[in-house]
Structure formats: structure tokens, C-alpha cells
């Protein structure tokens, strides 16, 4: 086997098993199927290009870092408004106080509602929740992929969940008033 073929089969062996994780992350960052698919394809091409420099280690984290960077690069060039949000802005608390944990629990299995609430979050909050909850990643892994300090991962995740709760409360509220 030539060197190039070796590289190709080792690339496929270590990175293709993470295709679903790559797509899931891209889909949640980009918000639609077509862009997600383009980003994943582009990310795999980049991964292939740099594969000789890949030193082993956690191939899923390595791939997801590239996927995320690919998405962010594209967004920065084409939809900078998506990324130019101030992460420190004040939270609105109006309806959140009306939501008790029991109500939250009741709606937690309403996937459509949860999806809509997640979609309302800014990308920076959403990606942390996805990496933590759907990929089951540790703060350390998340810090590596998103290039932010571990302490920031925890505080941003806390703010992201707070925001998610507010979005859920708002949607539940709207749904309720719609039914009435």
C-alpha cells in the first residue's frame, strides 16, 4: 500500500465513526440541514489535509474542534451577526419565576418544545449544552474544543441553562395562552 493509501484508510478508520457526532454539532451550530452537511464535508476535507499532523489522542475531540472551527469561520464571513452577541447581557426574568420545577419536568419530554427553546439560544450557549448533554463531554474536553478556559465553560454553561429555562418558560407560556 502506498503512503497515501495508508493515510486514507487510517483517516477513515479513526474519523468516520464520529460522523454522527460531527453532523449533530454542525447541525446545532448552523441551524439547518444543508449548511450542516456542507460544513461537515468541508471539515472532513480539512481533517484529511491535516491528518498527517494529527498526533493520535482523542480523535472525536480533534474532529469536533475542526467542525466547530469550520462552522465559525463560515459564520464569521457570512453571518457575523449570529456571533456578535454579547454573552454578558442581562437576562430577562419576567416569566422565569412563574415556572416551577414540576412544570419544567412535565415539558422536558416535549422534544419539539425543547428543540425550539434550544434554537432560540445564541450559538455560544447552545454549543456548550450540546457538547455537554448530547456528546457527554467533560468540561475539560469542551474547553479544548471551544478554546475557552474551564472556568468559563462552567459559568457559560450555567448562563446557557438559565437562558434555556427562560426560553422554555416563554414557549410554555405562549403555548398555554394559545390553548386558552
Amino acid at each position: 500500500m502506498s503512503q497515501e493509501q495508508n493515510k486514507l484508510s487510517s483517516f477513515e478508520e479513526s474519523l468516520l465513526p464520529h460522523l454522527n457526532a460531527a453532523y449533530n454539532l454542525a447541525r446545532w451550530i448552523m441551524g439547518n440541514d444543508q449548511d450542516a452537511e456542507d460544513m461537515v464535508q468541508e471539515a472532513y476535507l480539512r481533517a484529511y489535509k491535516y491528518f498527517t499532523g494529527y498526533q493520535g489522542g482523542n480523535s472525536r475531540s480533534w474532529l469536533l474542534t475542526i467542525v466547530r472551527n469550520t462552522c465559525y469561520t463560515w459564520l464569521r464571513q457570512n453571518q457575523p451577526q449570529v456571533l456578535s452577541v454579547d454573552l454578558n447581557d442581562e437576562m430577562y426574568t419576567s416569566e422565569s419565576d412563574m415556572l416551577n420545577p414540576e412544570t419544567l419536568f412535565q415539558h422536558s419530554l416535549n422534544h419539539q418544545l425543547v428543540r425550539s427553546a434550544l434554537a432560540k439560544l445564541t450559538v455560544e450557549f447552545r454549543e456548550l449544552i450540546i457538547l455537554r448533554e448530547l456528546e457527554g463531554m467533560s468540561y475539560k474536553e469542551i474547553a479544548l474544543i471551544t478554546d475557552i478556559p474551564i472556568g468559563t465553560v462552567m459559568s457559560r454553561l450555567a448562563r446557557g441553562r438559565q437562558r434555556l429555562k427562560e426560553c422554555l418558560a416563554q414557549l410554555i407560556h405562549e403555548e398555554g395562552s394559545h390553548e386558552l
Binding site: 454522527n20 449533530n24 499532523g53 469561520t73 455537554r132 434555556l164
Partner: protein, 262 residues
């Protein structure tokens, strides 16, 4: 542990990121505090809502196949900075016609042959040289010369770890009169690159580095908008050095870098 501290650490507690001592303290606190316990219940509900495979988007059918085939097509293409075949044919033709009678036409043809490629269509190299020159100017204008400011190569090199998927060589040339100022992430040729910043008197030199598919190559010099540029490939990396420094000094800097990388 007071409520403020508990609420600060509660997310870490839910995510299993706390050490045993802190976890036990939080557990004890939750037993007796209704407001923190309510927060905890909320977080558990949010965890249940989001930690759900039903939210997972699986890759569409056919994507894997497309990735496999595009990786197969992506074999590295060697760089070809020499004049194209067409330009060389033109050059030969023009010599044949180079007689006193058509001398002037001959000269025109030679000039076209030598420079025509860059006149008629900016080559990939020229486009990249423009990109490199603008990146250099941008770094000076935006007051964003360095992300990591240090004259120590052992501080600058590790800074790139985890930010790039390659490790750029960082050499110390202070003794030769080119002190290192720091490093920065930049974006060129469609991917993130390492930028090292050196100084010569009042002149900044940007060295852009990224992995290349090509083998080690010779040095290509160019000038763009008054800036001098040198490009070469060495040990699996592409290098671009750019500065308003005069070509001779920049050339000696480039030679030092190439020698130090070895």
C-alpha cells in the same frame, strides 16, 4: 457552604465535575435549603430535557460516501510556481522572431511571455501574496500584532498548542538582530495559520506558517504594494515572510530562519 457558593457550583455538581469534598458539602446544603434545592430541581429538569437522544441529529444517508470520495480526490497537488507551458512557448516563439525588423514586436512578446501570466490572470501565488500582504498590514493597523506577546520562543510555541492542529517552529533570532515580539493566530488561504512577529529596528516582520503538501522548495521573492515578500516550503510547512524592511535585510532574515529550522 453558603447559598451563593452552592449556586455557583451547582452546574458543576450536576455535571459530575466537582471533587468529593465539594460534592458532599453541596449535598448537605441541599438537604436543608429550599431555595437552593429548587434551583437544583430546575437543573435536573433541564438536564432531563436536553440529555435526550431524540434531540440528536444523525448524519443524512450518503454523507459518509461523499466524504470518502472527496478525501480520495484530495491528493495533494504539487505547487508549480514556474512559468506556464504557454508562457514558455511564447518565449521561444518571440526569440525566433527577434530580428532587427520585428525587434520591437519581439520585445513586446518577450515581455508578455515573462509577465503575461500575472497580467492576464492573477495566479494563485499572486492572489496569496496579496492576501499575505493585507494580513500583514491588517495586523499593524488593527493594533492586533500579537495574541501572545513574548520574546521567548518557549512561551510563544506552546501558546499555539490546542489553537492550531499543527505546531509551528519558533526560532529565536534576537542575537542576530531580529528579536521575536510574539505570536498571533491569523487566517490565510482558507485556514487558520500561525503568525510570528519579529522586529528589525522599527520594522515589523510577519512570518506566516501553515502545513503544506509540497516538498521543500526554493525561495520565491515578490513585492506587493511596496512590501517585500518571501515564500518557501520547508519540512512540511509553507512560510511567508512579509515586511516593509528592505529586500536585502529581509532576505538575510529569511536565510536565518531557514537555517535555524534546518
Amino acid at each position: 457552604m453558603n447559598c451563593d457558593r452552592v449556586q455557583l457550583l451547582l452546574n458543576g455538581y450536576i455535571d459530575g465535575e466537582l471533587d468529593l469534598v465539594n460534592s458532599l458539602e453541596i449535598e448537605a446544603h441541599l438537604q436543608g435549603c429550599t431555595s437552593c434545592s429548587r434551583r437544583y430541581q430546575e437543573l435536573v429538569a433541564l438536564h432531563t430535557a436536553t440529555n435526550d437522544v431524540a434531540l440528536f441529529y444523525s448524519a443524512p444517508a450518503g454523507l459518509e460516501k461523499r466524504i470518502r470520495s472527496s478525501a480520495r480526490k484530495a491528493n495533494p497537488v504539487p505547487r508549480a510556481p514556474q512559468a506556464s507551458q504557454a508562457a514558455r512557448a511564447w518565449a521561444m516563439l518571440s526569440w525566433r522572431w527577434f530580428t532587427p525588423v520585428v525587434g520591437l514586436a519581439g520585445i513586446v512578446l518577450i515581455v508578455v511571455a515573462l509577465f503575461g501570466r500575472s497580467w492576464f490572470a492573477p495566479s494563485q501565488e499572486t492572489a496569496l501574496a496579496q492576501e499575505v500582504q493585507s494580513a500583514h498590514v491588517r495586523s499593524l493597523m488593527a493594533n492586533h500584532l500579537t495574541d501572545v506577546t513574548s520574546s521567548d520562543q518557549h512561551t510563544v510555541k506552546p501558546w499555539f498548542d490546542g489553537k492550531l492542529d499543527f505546531s509551528p517552529p519558533v526560532v529565536d533570532l534576537a542575537a542576530q538582530g531580529f528579536p521575536l515580539i510574539g505570536g498571533r493566530l491569523d487566517y490565510l488561504d482558507g485556514h487558520p495559520v500561525a503568525a510570528l512577529v519579529y522586529q528589525r529596528n522599527k520594522h515589523e516582520i510577519n512570518v506566516f506558517i501553515w502545513p503544506s503538501a509540497g516538498r521543500s522548495s526554493g525561495l520565491f521573492a515578490s513585492t506587493y504594494h511596496g512590501y517585500n515578500l518571501f515564500q518557501w516550503d520547508q519540512s512540511g510547512m509553507t512560510y511567508w515572510a512579509v515586511s516593509d524592511l528592505n529586500p536585502d535585510e529581509l532576505r538575510s532574515f529569511v536565510d536565518l530562519v531557514r537555517k535555524s529550522i534546518g
